[in-house]
Symmetry: C2
Subunit: 153 residues, 2 copies
DNA sequence: ACTGAAATCTGACTTAC
DNA sequence: GTAAGTCAGATTTCAGT
């Protein structure tokens, strides 16, 4: 990791808050020339600090207002089983993200569905059909806050 | 929720994969006129389907390679306590996102830190200082996969 | 590494189908 | 709702500091 100067940090913050800001606007806000700003922006991508730019969709607005976290234990919890189950879960359309974790559980699966029927169908028809699955616990997500701006500590 | 036609869906997918695509490029990919594409894009924002555009940063590249999920129970788990604790957690710089959940735990906190010392300091010095905190369990995150493209089910 | 000007391209708007 | 045309403004390159 190469160090971030004040301009890089500010640019990262601006692009995390609005990834479609124009280069000219960014340059004005940072008090640098547009050409300089463009080069900084590209450098952040080249150096791997910025991985990509993504539109954020409203889950409720696309008809998936119900979120849940599903804790899963698999048996035996070796690499082959973990990798196999992860690959399976990754392909499920209900899934938003998958955490492979240490501790009591092996997976934490964040899902968004239309209603409780779809959630039940996911757990009872899709997940429990897997033979390696040893335990499932489903928690409803009442609220999910995600930080948009992430800075070095 | 108003219905999404084929163009809207395709546009959503493209912008989730690369939020900085130009209107012209999007129009070409969708085989529609740029003016039409632009109007569709704005409509998605106006209708609330697209909430924003964000640059995605590499956590390891900014010096935060260690992720954890911290399950927390608070006491008593009423609205005042839940809201107070959530507001507190939200402000911690280590935190990436906060799930308020049903079930055994009240919160699941996703954090990214520099090393295990910072993780220990977060849990032992910051979280456990809160009097409402009844229980904490920390799981290391070995891997976190996040879907970039989310579609209606 | 940053700047500033020049050429090119994009996006916003109007008009018409 | 979609397409074409126009022009202001943005992006990008490059020579210069």
């Amino acid at each position: 990791m190469t160090e971030l100067d004040a301009i890089d940090s500010a640019l990262l913050a601006l692009l995390q808050n609005d990834g479609r800001r124009t280069n000219r606007e960014l340059a004005t806000l940072l008090n640098i020339a547009p050409s300089t700003c463009l080069e900084r922006m590209r450098a952040l991508r080249r150096r791997g600090l910025i991985v990509g730019y993504h539109a954020q969709v409203d889950l409720a607005a696309i008809g998936r207002p119900l979120q849940a976290l599903i804790a899963v234990r698999v048996r035996p919890p070796n690499r082959a089983v973990i990798d196999g189950f992860r690959a399976f879960v990754e392909e499920l359309p209900e899934v938003l993200s998958v955490f492979v974790v240490s501790g009591g559980d092996d997976f934490l699966i964040h899902v968004a569905v239309k209603d409780t029927d779809q959630l039940q169908a996911l757990v009872l028809d899709k997940l429990t059909r897997r033979k390696e699955l040893a335990d499932v616990r489903t928690s409803l997500v009442y609220e999910h806050l995600r930080k948009t701006e992430i800075a070095p500590l």
